[in-house]
């Protein structure tokens, strides 16, 4: 079995007695995309800071391609590209100059630096704005430039800390196109986000952190299997008496494959064990004399899993 590109073991970090990260362990294989998710204050950013060598762990170990990652290890840092949550750009420095700076920080210079800057700008579709200042860019363009700045030194592992915060759907899509290109090129990614659909779209493996601890470390398929339901069927009924609705509810609950059911006004919301059980359920309801005005089905998403694992309480 080949060694993973990144191996994180028992990572711990406390701030003034408050535990931020508590024994976090995971691995990232070469070419794999890891989704790192968790509520606010779960310990994601602290974990990312330690992965980049910006913070020294209290305990634990981070090995990247066989080398320990820490603040003093330049060789390990050369293999990591960081896309921080903040827009780490100089607003009054033209886009190309920004990239030249970040490339030079990794020892690039001369023609190689110029080529890398041009390639990165084109990857994020900013080639035609290379000489403009980021202060004139939209939020989405800045986000793309933020990503480009992390690619110049051709890192083995790209860490993206919520890279789509505050951008419109078009820009988000453009960012995803760029990331999917990188993924196809075989680059390893760690992607943190609050948007579960983003992680679902990109990640081969998902780590959910809560209260500084790993609460799930699985593939998306494995996570879905944790759920009691795989699909949700919503059925809006015509005029129906409350007593009849209650009776219907009890009969639906007793049907095989139904994991949960509740009512919202005149609508039934039925959680099903599998998506292909939705049609037979509709046929059964019709046979019971119901006349659905409107119905819809949806696959249960990662958000449901996330909320199931981390709870619904606010974390501000």
């Amino acid at each position: 079995m080949t060694e993973p590109l990144l191996k994180v073991t028992g990572l711990c970090k406390s701030y003034a007695g408050r535990i931020a990260v508590d024994g976090v362990s995971f691995t990232v294989a070469s070419g794999q995309t890891l989704g790192l998710i968790g509520p606010n204050g779960a310990g994601k950013s602290t974990t990312v800071s330690m992965l980049c060598g910006l913070l020294k762990p209290d305990r634990g170990e981070i090995m990247l391609d066989g080398q320990a990652v820490n603040h003093g290890n330049s060789a390990a840092k050369h293999k990591i590209g960081l896309v921080p949550q903040e827009l780490a750009l100089y607003d009054e420095l033209p886009a190309r100059e920004n990239l030249k700076l970040f490339g030079a920080l990794y020892g690039l210079s001369g023609d190689l630096l110029k080529q890398r800057c041009q390639a990165a700008l084109e990857l994020v579709t900013l080639g035609d704005r290379a000489d403009d200042k980021p202060s004139t860019f939209s939020g989405g363009m800045k986000r793309r430039l933020n990503i480009a700045a992390a690619l110049l030194h051709d890192p083995q592992l790209l860490i993206l800390d919520e890279p789509t915060v505050g951008v419109d759907p078009q820009s988000r899509n453009a960012i995803f196109d760029s990331l999917e290109t990188l993924k196809r090129q075989g680059r390893s990614l760690i992607y943190t986000s609050h948007y579960m659909e983003e992680v679902e779209r990109l990640a081969d493996h998902i780590v959910i952190i809560d209260h500084g601890k790993v609460v799930a470390n699985e593939t998306p398929e494995e996570l879905y299997r944790r759920l009691p339901s795989q699909a949700a069927l919503s059925v809006e009924l015509g005029d129906i008496e409350a007593a009849s609705l209650d009776a219907l509810l009890e009969r639906v609950k007793s049907r095989p494959g139904v994991s949960a059911v509740n009512t919202v006004g005149n609508s039934l919301r039925i959680a099903l064990g599998a998506a292909d059980e939705a049609l037979p359920m509709l046929e059964w309801l019709t046979a019971q004399g119901c006349r659905p005005r409107h119905f819809s089905t949806a696959r249960t998403d990662l958000e449901e899993i996330f909320l199931t694992l981390t709870g619904h309480s606010l974390r501000d």
Binding site: L82, F102, L105, Y106, L108
Partner: protein, 437 residues
């Protein structure tokens, strides 16, 4: 090699950012020039302007010859400008600050002053009203007044008609008292001698006046027993007030730029840029060194530009050692850069750090003699100010400009700047490293 590439890139970035902000650049350059020009003008300009005269009101209530001669003497003095006024007008103008002082020569002053010259009793009073904001000028006015009164009264007593009458009267009085009072007998002898002396001097004076009309101008009374010869002592061609004011204002605004550099680091930390830079394979010390180098280069450039203006427009001369001037400037620039790092290291937020740093800087600049020369301070304050890098910077620049001293005079200033730079730099680096861990 990789660190050097990174270091050069950060320095280059800082310089591009500084130069691309045209408005800030203009302000950074224009403000020290404007204030330097203003203070330079106040402190004597380039040495060609005449000193301002002291405006003094004169209220003449006495109509004696002595009073008239005192007024004429005061009016002839080039260091004061006399305006004859009524008492109420004089008081009002001094109160409003339009006159620095007003002298009131009371009625009967001439006669009373003559009598008081040979007796400590019944001295007439000259009232001097003065503007309390111009305390220092009071002493000057009193000094000039003393000179004029002593000269005029003694001349009158030893040779004038009033003096003759006074001596005749005094001889008669002393003769009456001489029988009972031995002191009166001695005074009588002295007055007899004085009368004989007056007779001779009047005879020879009349002859001399006939021979030479200018001899009439020679004071016949007590005169100042010395004359002064003023000579400015500096190795340079002449004192130029702009040299000091531009040194002071350059020091002030370059330190302000240093604050901005420190605040820039705090803002970079807040925006996540600092962490992003440190995520690259460079050390904290490399990053700080790069910031210090760029800040020092900017500071040195600003100093040179500001002084270039002073040289071209106000004829300020680097009358001492040019390498010494550049050395003091460079060392001050390095000190400024590390001062900025210190602010960044200990500043909690950019806003709070700016307020505190500006206050500290203004204090350092003020006590360092950048606004008014340090020699005007009380001695204890002058001693304390030697503990500030700003004092050494201003003195060092003064030494190399208008004082015209050689390179050796710049060395202490340079060493002190470098000492402070090392101190600030080490403290800042340790704090950054502690925060990092």
């Amino acid at each position: 090699m990789s660190s050097l590439t990174a270091l050069k890139a950060i320095v280059r970035k800082d310089l591009i950012l500084f130069l691309s902000d045209r408005r800030a650049l203009l302000i950074t350059l224009v403000l020290p020039i404007l204030l330097g020009t203003f203070f330079g003008y106040l402190f004597g300009g380039s040495g060609v302007t005449k000193n301002a005269r002291i405006d003094v009101g004169l209220v003449m209530i006495d109509d004696s010859d002595i009073g008239k001669n005192i007024a004429a003497g005061l009016k002839a003095d080039k260091s004061i400008s006399i305006l004859e006024l009524k008492l109420e007008e004089a008081q009002e103008q001094v109160r409003k600050g339009k006159l620095h002082a007003a002298i009131v020569i009371p009625a009967g002053f001439g006669a009373a002053a003559g009598a008081a010259l040979f007796s400590s009793r019944d001295k007439p009073e000259i009232t001097v009203y003065y503007d309390p904001s111009q305390n220092a000028l009071l002493a000057v006015v009193k000094g000039l007044l003393t000179q004029q009164v002593m000269q005029t009264v003694s001349a009158e007593m030893f040779g004038g008609k009033t003096g003759m009458r006074f001596i005749e009267d005094s001889i008669k009085q002393s003769e009456q008292r001489a029988a009972n009072d031995p002191d009166a007998a001695e005074l009588n002898k002295f007055l007899q001698s004085l009368r004989r002396f007056q007779g001779r001097t009047q005879g020879s004076g009349a002859a001399a006046n006939a021979a030479s009309p200018t001899a009439q101008n020679v004071p016949q009374g007590l005169s100042m027993p010395f004359a002064t010869r003023e000579e400015a002592m500096s190795s340079g061609p002449k004192y130029n007030g702009y040299a000091h004011s531009f040194a002071g204002m350059s020091v002030q605004f370059i330190l302000m730029m240093g604050i901005d550099a420190g605040i820039g680091i705090l803002l970079a930390r807040r925006m996540g840029l600092w962490s992003r830079l440190l995520a690259a394979p460079i050390t904290t010390s490399t990053l700080l060194l790069a910031r210090a180098i760029s800040c020092a280069l900017i500071a040195f450039g600003l100093l040179c530009c500001t002084f270039l203006f002073a040289v071209l427009v106000f004829e300020v001369k680097i009358a001492g050692s040019l390498p010494g001037f550049l050395g003091v400037g460079a060392c001050f620039a390095v000190m400024t850069a590390t001062f900025g790092l210190l602010i960044a290291a200990y500043g909690k937020t950019p806003e709070a750090a700016r307020g505190l740093a500006v206050f500290a800087t203004l204090l350092m600049v003020m006590l360092g003699g950048a606004w008014v020369p340090a020699f005007l301070f009380p001695q204890w304050l002058q001693t304390i100010s030697l503990g500030l890098p700003t004092r050494w910077a201003v003195d060092g620049l003064d030494a190399m400009t208008w004082r015209g001293l050689d390179f050796s005079a710049a060395v202490p200033a340079m060493l002190v700047q470098l000492g402070f730079a090392a101190l600030f730099g080490v403290i800042a680096l340790r704090k950054f490293q502690r925060d990092q861990s």
